[in-house]
Amino acid sequence: MERHDVVAAVEKALSEVLEQPVTGLTEEVRLFEDLHLDSTSVLEMLMALEDAIDVSVDPENLDMDDFKSVGTLTDYVLSQQTTSGV
């Protein structure tokens, strides 16, 4: 999966969690400061991402630093794909 595919999946997951359309995200956009996510909505977003793309999140190994921005989240999702062998 390419980075832009992950960003598109993140937009779809965020649209579901925030209950409003989220489009045109750049990698610099910050999840907490700019999109106002909180720890609850991060969990909801991860669960939505698992549904949308073939990725399996390791719930033992989540770090807030991975959710600073769209870019760090994309890195995280791609790393989970590698470890889950997809």
Partner: protein, 465 residues
Amino acid sequence: MSFDDGYTAGLKAALTGDRDARFVWLCNFEVENQWARSYTGLPAARGSATAATVQRMEELGALLAEPTDYLLLDRPLDEGYRGYAEKTGLGAPTELVTAAPAAAGGTGAAVLDSPELLERLRRIARDGAYLMPMGNSAQEERIGALTGLRPAVPDAATYERVNSKIYSRRVAEELGLRTIPGHCCETVGQLRHALDEQLGEDRPVIVKDAYGVSGKGLLVLDSRRKADRLLRMVERRAANRGDDALHVVVEAFLPKRFDLNYQFTVDRRGRVRLDFVKQALTAGGVHLGHVMPADLTPAQQDELATAAVALGGRLYADGFFGVVGVDALLGADDLVYPVLEINARLNMSSYQGRITERFGRPGGAALARHYPLRLAAPLPFEAVTDALGALAEPPHDGEGLVITCFGTVNAQAGDALAGPPTTPAPHFNGRLYTMLFAGDREGLDALDRRVEAALDRLNTAGRTP
């Protein structure tokens, strides 16, 4: 037991029998993290995006402590703010500052890493002072053991036992208080069973960590699909660990008029006194603060008072004394649900007691809220008072505003501005905590709008949080 001549002195009398006791306050917000260590909850990322803000909330203790008390802090109060606190007439305690700013363990851990401060605390202990934590955990007990400070509160094991939401729910059921339909879960299998039952009722459910701090560690599930997502994740974790423990409460997400918070105090002899009842204030679903008096009928007020006595008696029987905040709810059906969760520790509202006593008027109204700010650079305290103009003057004759915490305004500046320059320029989200007083709710709303408009000029361009 009476707060007639002093909220904080009355609290000291309830906890120690001596209203002139000297306290060393440690406002360890998120002490739940210590209690939660042995209990698996919802999946969560390590760390917190708001940790720096929560850390600075310890400064709320400045207006609860009496000027003869001490307040443990991981950095000094802003000088401008300290001057302001003194100008209000409330005064400010002696600051005891750690050798270095707190890391993940909070101010308690930073105290333990400050040899000179520990030595000073030993001297203070010899004069008979008490250690008064917001909530007690092994970390605070260690400070007591190293310094000789007497605890003003029960031991850490008691705090851990009575602060679980599983305890809250079971006690409410045993006392025959009206509970929200739901289940206590201690295994993943029990969660699956609870979700099956609750979702069959065709209404959303809320899953809450046994030790989640308010607003965190909870998840609303409004469909079977979302429930299955959660089950998939926690079952995978249980399989990996070979351990299916999971400590959560599952409850129906009832339609409501508003949330409530009430506080009572259990003294060392088990006497219970209801301190106050407040109504939660939200805007667009976001929690902003609390307003007093709550919009309840006398019968609804009585129901909460009865619940407070029953809960206080049970907590005392289980080894607890001290301040207890309870989150409750007024349903859309006009029924009071008196126990969403018991927080047997100081609560946000506890920090407002001394301020309310000084500036509130009988029959008047009060609002405790924070104003979100969107800032591009750290703000000096004087910029806030300049923006507020005449509103920055302490309340007079039951009308006006008190700034209850300033440190939270700039708390997020360091992280947000540390990165490379971006376009648009980076900003951070600050919070100015306040209390507003007026003769009635209409006056309070008008004052709130004036404060909001005055502070808006501090915001950088763009959407405020």
